[in-house]
């Protein structure tokens, strides 16, 4: 990600993230293979409105557009390894919750159980 942000860039970043549609676009664009049209089909707004959201994200340095034939693919600007690390963190979080539930159910089955 970008370092040494000046105030204007910081404001642009926070402005970019302040909108829930833009946050969703950012998560979707982590796949790196979504055209603006594919992204636009997810949201109940005009194609032009989605284009504007992508433009805000692009100005903030959060996404880049890549030509793929006649399409423009939107890609979140992070390296693949960092994306993988982030996804692993999320899956770890999922398993931590799951294992907490595991422990809870296990403790419940202790009552009155004969082994």
């Amino acid at each position: 990600m970008v370092v040494d942000l000046d105030d204007r860039s910081t404001n642009e970043l926070f402005h970019a993230l302040a909108d829930p549609t833009r946050r969703d676009i950012l998560v979707q664009a982590m796949r790196g293979d979504q055209s603006v049209s594919t992204l636009a089909s997810r949201y109940p707004m005009s194609f032009a409105a989605v284009q504007k959201h992508v433009a805000v994200l692009e100005r903030a340095g959060l996404v880049a557009k890549q030509k793929n034939g006649r399409e423009r693919l939107v890609r979140t600007e992070i390296e693949t390894i960092r994306l993988a690390a982030r996804l692993l963190d999320e899956i770890e979080e999922m398993w931590r919750h799951r294992l907490d539930r595991f422990g809870d159910v296990l403790a419940e089955t202790d009552e009155g159980e004969t082994t």
Binding site: L13, F14, L87, I91, E92, M94, R96, R98, G103
Partner: protein, 166 residues
Amino acid sequence: MTVTNVEKDAERLTMRITAEFDAPIGRVWQMWEDPRLLERWWGPPTYPATVTDHDLTPGGRVAYHMTGPDGGTYPGWWKVLVVENPRLLEFEDGFSDSDGNPAPDMPTTRTIVTLTEQPDGRTSMVIDTRFPSLDAMETLIEMGMVEGITAAIGQIDGLLATDSTA
């Protein structure tokens, strides 16, 4: 907190998570072997799991679905590979199409569960997972639903908070 150790490899797309439980190995094994227990912890409270088929034998299948707050169902399945009661369980974890049939073009996650009884009677459980691709991990996170998306936004915000002070 039951989790005692986590190792992640972002290049190999593997994760090893170790948890310890204050229970003998037989009861920890039961949590996987009894479908009525499995469905109580497999899914989050917002998307609880229902296990419809459960054959924990080599070559056997487990079928389940998560039910969302809007009533939508999200099916998944295991293909059981290795079973050594009560020490070892290995399975492929995959997703289904809307008819509940395994989606053949979707890659599967390989999971190995190893249980070890400790001298003090506690049981350690190691879960080794290998993900076939980033796409599969994302699908898994989507199936984990709310928790995953909330975490993703939290991480993005957190990363920006770090950068803004750089």
